[in-house]
Symmetry: C2
Subunit: 193 residues, 2 copies
């Protein structure tokens, strides 16, 4: 409802614009992925309301709830976040009483993550809301397409673009991270200020 009634301002001289921009953009995979991803993040954000870490907080909680998180670092890599980010992500989650850092008996440097009772309980209701949000997001696809889409996303995410099989299946995240241009200098050169 923001920009609904400008539309060439009187049908003057450029009737192609709307159609062309629409079609062309829709063909761009990057644009499509961006749209879908943003829509998902927005929906997830709304669904999980005020969980400390946002959508990522949910993933951390979920990982902790199914027990046995090797270490913060490993989880951070799976989730594609920096380990320093994981620190205060867990700070918030722990402050909310949802997860707990327990020292790993095998390696006193590492902390394992376990979900508290409250965390597990909350996760159940979050799962429900999240599933509903996903369903709403995937509504435009029919049943078969929905399943196919999920499978494809899963295939792309788990296999990624790695060529050789890693010895540990959980390494894929770090592969994806390694693909990143390692902090490309600027992109946006000047902005005066």
């Amino acid at each position: 409802m923001i920009g609904a009634m400008h539309d060439t301002a009187g049908g003057s001289d450029l009737p192609v614009e709307a159609a062309s921009c629409q079609e062309a953009l829709a063909d761009d995979l990057g644009w499509g992925l961006g749209m879908v991803f943003r829509a998902y993040v927005a929906a997830a954000h709304a669904a999980i309301a005020d969980l400390p870490g946002g959508p990522r907080g949910y993933q951390v909680l979920a990982a902790a709830a199914r027990g046995a998180v090797v270490s913060q670092l490993a989880l951070a890599q799976h989730l594609g976040v920096d380990r320093t980010v994981m620190t205060y992500l867990l700070d918030d989650l722990e402050a909310a009483g949802l997860v707990q850092r327990v020292p790993d008996p095998a390696d006193r440097r590492a902390r394992r993550l376990v979900a508290t009772t409250r965390g597990t309980a909350l996760l159940v209701s979050l799962d429900d809301r999240l599933r509903a949000a996903e369903a709403r997001l995937l509504a435009p696809l029919d049943g078969a397409a929905r399943d196919a889409f999920r499978a494809h996303v899963r295939a792309l995410a788990t296999q990624g673009d790695i060529a050789e099989p890693p010895d540990s299946p959980c390494e894929l995240a770090e592969h994806a991270a390694a693909e990143l241009p390692r902090r490309r200098p600027a992109t946006r050169s000047a902005r005066a200020r």
Copy 2:
């Protein structure tokens, strides 16, 4: 090669961890989308090298190249970026001599966007590299699955989660934007400093 050899550090007491984390995460659509999207952004970023606006700069350039961009605002909404962001995004693009802001004769407040000759020429090579990057990203899917995935993404992106048909097809982006919780206060409450 970062965290390759911790792995339960001696097979002590928790053999489930690796497999469980992997499977559970893979079932999470949010995680999968995040992985795929990040992989795409990374690949696109690498492919378009140092184009001013990053992947979004490409989309702006592409939109400008196919001519007839109604206004900066409209484009910003399609791309899901803030209009103030669009301003300095275009500043960089224009400074690089790739696009040009031309005053709209019908509405002197608005600026139409056209790609310069250099911009159009660059776009061609960018398109090639980008297409190659996409192909690499979608490599794990076979031909049919690839097409299906593209179609699904397109369907989800264009239809989104809107219920009633908007009078202008280009409004969908703003719908997605409107879905956002409009600057949710914090998420990450405390961080001492």
